[in-house]
């Protein structure tokens, strides 16, 4: 009734090709954006920031990155954890080597360093495909973790091999370190999410995104119609790693403040991000957010309900968390193999016809 294209006249080409063609979507998008930027920071608690929203935002960036590579370009990667580690260690080295460098640029530069590393590991993708490429990126995962453990230069020769984020400020507000206010953490991450999601959305519907999708759908056909596979695949690896590197840098500097590579950026991290992509929906920006939200918020929510609300013993609750989250993943994938994003698309289709379906 209210959710429809009818009556929403488009007069120019740019209006016709906008991201949210339906008015209600547009309004909803801006309302969420306004609430996220102007309302949430005033009410955010330390717990909501550190345990819920900041990890959600950071994972959303990582999932956007992997979605560009896997969802849009069709190159399966299991190296996400390793690339996040590159972002984290790059930001650490930059922070400690150039103490006066602004934290915003540190994060961006860490993204570029990761992009370079990602493109290097993306080179084999020109020759190998599918599962074989997955194994090659798996090698990147293990190699990078091993490297950051083995070479003391990366962790400034500290006794424990841990890296710690020193305190840095942006426009007078503390962004990293233990004295950061929850709203500063949240807004810093949110700024990156908004910026990167906007970039991702516009890249994927432009020339570059179309060439990625052509490669994904059939690489030989794409080559015949003039898509350069070298350029398409390497750019996908580069852009994807840039996103993942920023996520890794934020994960270390803003979220945890101290990490050790084996635990924070191990293979489980790679799988977690990949699951977020699959559950959210391959090749969807909204799906990236939905997937990250599902796997970050669901365990925290379950924990609070089972332990805090129902007073269960912590170990039984922890086991049930696995069972419930696992069960929900299977249920969702059986009901909708294309992820939460497809579910949302179907709901929108139904809403257009409501209340008079055929």
């Amino acid at each position: 009734m209210w959710y429809r294209e009818a009556g929403d006249f488009k007069k120019t080409y740019s209006e016709d090709s906008q991201t949210f063609p339906i008015r209600l979507d547009r309004i909803g998008y801006f309302v969420i954006l306004l609430v996220a930027v102007l309302v949430v920071p005033f009410f955010i608690t330390s717990y909501a920031a550190n345990a819920v929203l900041v990890p959600f935002l950071i994972y959303a960036i990582a999932v956007l990155g992997l979605n560009i590579l896997t969802g849009y370009c069709g190159q399966v990667s299991l190296g996400t954890g390793g690339f996040m580690a590159v972002g984290a260690y790059a930001s650490y080295k930059l922070m400690t080597s150039f103490p006066d460098l602004n934290i915003f640029f540190v994060v961006i530069l860490a993204g570029f360093v990761t992009a370079a590393v990602g493109m290097m590991f993306g080179l084999p993708s020109l020759r190998i495909k599918g599962f074989y490429l997955a194994v090659a990126t798996l090698a990147a995962q293990f190699f990078l973790v091993w490297l950051f453990n083995k070479v003391p230069w990366f962790y400034n020769y500290s006794a424990s091999g841990q890296i710690n984020a020193p305190e840095r400020t942006l426009l007078g507000y503390i962004i990293t370190g233990p004295n950061t206010s929850p709203s500063a953490k949240y807004l810093f991450c949110l700024a990156f999410v908004i910026l990167l999601a906007w970039i991702a959305r516009n890249l994927t519907r432009g020339t570059l995104g179309r060439s990625w999708m052509a490669i994904r759908d059939m690489d030989i056909a794409a080559e015949i119609i003039g898509v350069n596979p070298l350029k398409a695949k390497l750019s996908a690896f580069g852009v994807s790693s840039f996103f993942i590197g920023i996520a890794g840098a934020l994960y270390f500097t803003v979220y945890l403040g101290a990490v050790e590579v084996g635990e924070a950026f191990g293979i489980t991290q790679s799988f977690l991000v990949l699951f977020m992509v699959i559950i959210g929906g391959l090749g969807s920006i909204l799906g990236s957010f939905a997937g990250a939200a599902f796997l970050v918020l669901m365990p925290v929510l379950l924990k609070n309900v089972l332990v805090g609300g129902m007073g269960w013993p912590t170990d039984i609750a922890a086991h049930f968390e696995f069972i419930i989250v696992g069960g929900l993943i299977i249920t969702f994938l059986i009901l909708e193999p294309h992820g939460l994003a497809q579910l949302w698309r179907i709901i929108k289709e139904k809403m257009r016809l409501w209340p008079f379906p055929h």
């Binding site: 957010f289 939200a293 609070n304």
Partner: protein, 428 residues
């Protein structure tokens, strides 16, 4: 839209449990799941049972009941942070995360929030320097004490000279396992032994290649900094390659019943350091039996009592409770704050007599905390596993670590931390 709704529910679920300041709140960041559960469960049970005993027998500490907030971390730092954030608002007095990784996370956070951290025999060794680490304590002994005690024991066994001997360190490839390396290197220079480093990646279920390396290079002694499933696997592998078990020495976190039992007779003769005495012949068990077990209030499944790590959980809780008493005494109030708790910890002194009065005579070492020293006395014993009797036997008395080496290293490492974080030294 969906996301914000979920977040809102999560926020409500949390704020519903608003701070109640009527109790003395002790958060227990435990892990009863995952690859480290075998070691996490007995410790958490001991910690919880001691707190229950305080409430049931004494009606709390100084008349104020204790409240235990258990939170499952799975030995995972991100979950540890979530637990810290979830519990700190409820008036948490002291954090004892039983994880070096989580301790590293909490050191800056808890220092900023003004809540003391007690990493008992783990965590960051240089936190022993109270001049720099105001809020962090690691008494009664540190990892570097442990490394030094192990080397001293080897020297005793070899008749005082270990020049040219080869000592391998099998360690958990994390901040925890890497911690003793610096001390062992320093001691290698001093005593002339050769140090071999053999890392084992988390969780340590697969160690074939590491023990193959040991078999090929034949070190004279193997030291181990392991935790969780890694301990059991290492002891099994060592017995598989026929390594002399009395030349295989674990840190105090690699010496519980759960670590040696799976290897059966193969584990016979395996040694580990002891932070406190093994066994269950303590007067406190009579009280626990009466007030906790028989009343059906035992934590977990109630089958861990009298094991090494259960005792250590009791000990951790005992030290926290004694620090609370001290704080109540200093400040003259029963309902203490985390800042008062810190003062209590800094003034804590444990003697033979005070331990005996608490029903744990001859259990832990004597030590006295000061403003400068948060690391205790640095004493440890060596215990050996008897597989036929299934008991740990002490084979040495308290061994004093080589403070001349360790103090210099602590000063160096804490000075680096102070410089990084712009901390001016206290206690002057």
């Amino acid at each position: 839209m969906k996301l914000t709704k979920l977040a809102a529910i999560a926020a409500v679920a949390l704020t519903a449990a608003s701070p109640v300041m009527a109790d003395l709140v002790f958060p227990s960041l435990s892990y009863r799941t995952g690859p480290y559960a075998a070691n996490g469960i007995p410790f958490a049970d001991g910690y919880a049972d001691y707190m229950t005993l305080m409430n049931e027998r004494d009606g709390g500490i100084g008349g104020v009941p204790t409240k235990l907030l258990e939170c499952e971390t799975g030995y995972n730092t991100a979950k540890g942070v979530e637990c810290y954030e979830a519990t700190k608002g409820e008036g948490a007095l002291i954090y004892q995360p039983l994880s070096t990784g989580i301790t590293y996370q909490l050191i800056p956070k808890a220092s900023a929030d003004g809540i003391p951290v007690h990493s008992m025999g783990y965590g960051r060794t240089s936190a022993a320097n109270g001049k720099v680490f105001e809020w962090v304590f690691n008494y009664p002994a540190t990892y570097w004490d442990g490394a030094s005690i192990a080397v001293k024991h080897i020297m005793d066994q070899e008749g005082g000279d270990i020049k040219g001997k080869k000592i391998a360190l099998v360690y958990h490839n994390s901040a925890y396992g890497k911690e003793p390396i610096r001390t062992l290197e320093e001691l290698a220079k001093m005593h002339g032994y050769e140090l071999m480093l053999i890392p084992v990646d988390h969780p340590g279920q697969e160690q074939k290649s590491q023990w193959l390396q040991i078999r090929q290079q034949r070190p004279d002694y193997v030291l181990m900094w392991g935790w969780g499933v890694m301990n059991q696997v290492a002891i099994q592998e060592a017995s598989n390659i026929g390594f002399a078990m009395d030349h295989f020495i674990g840190i105090w976190w690699s010496g519980s019943e759960n670590d040696v039992l799976p290897a059966g007779d193969g584990a016979n003769g395996y040694k580990a350091l002891a932070l406190a005495n093994p066994g269950g012949d303590y007067a406190i068990y009579a009280d626990l039996q009466k007030h906790v077990y028989d009343a059906g209030k035992a934590a977990g499944s109630g089958d861990q009592m009298k094991t090494v790590l259960y005792n250590r959980g009791l000990y951790a809780a005992l030290l926290a409770v004694e620090a609370t008493r001290k704080a109540q005494e200093i400040h003259g109030v029963a309902q203490i704050t985390p800042a008062m708790m810190r003062d209590g910890m800094e003034a804590l002194e444990m003697t033979e007599a005070s331990m005996a009065a608490l029903g744990m005579a001859d259990f832990g070492p004597e030590f006295k905390n000061t403003c400068e020293n948060h690391g205790g006395s640095g004493l440890g014993k060596v215990q050996q596993w008897d597989a036929s009797a299934k008991t740990w036997n002490l084979i040495t008395d308290w061994i004093q670590s080589d403070k001349s080496v360790i103090d210099a290293l602590i000063a160096e490492d804490s000075a680096a931390y102070a410089a990084e974080n712009n901390i001016t030294e206290r206690c002057n």
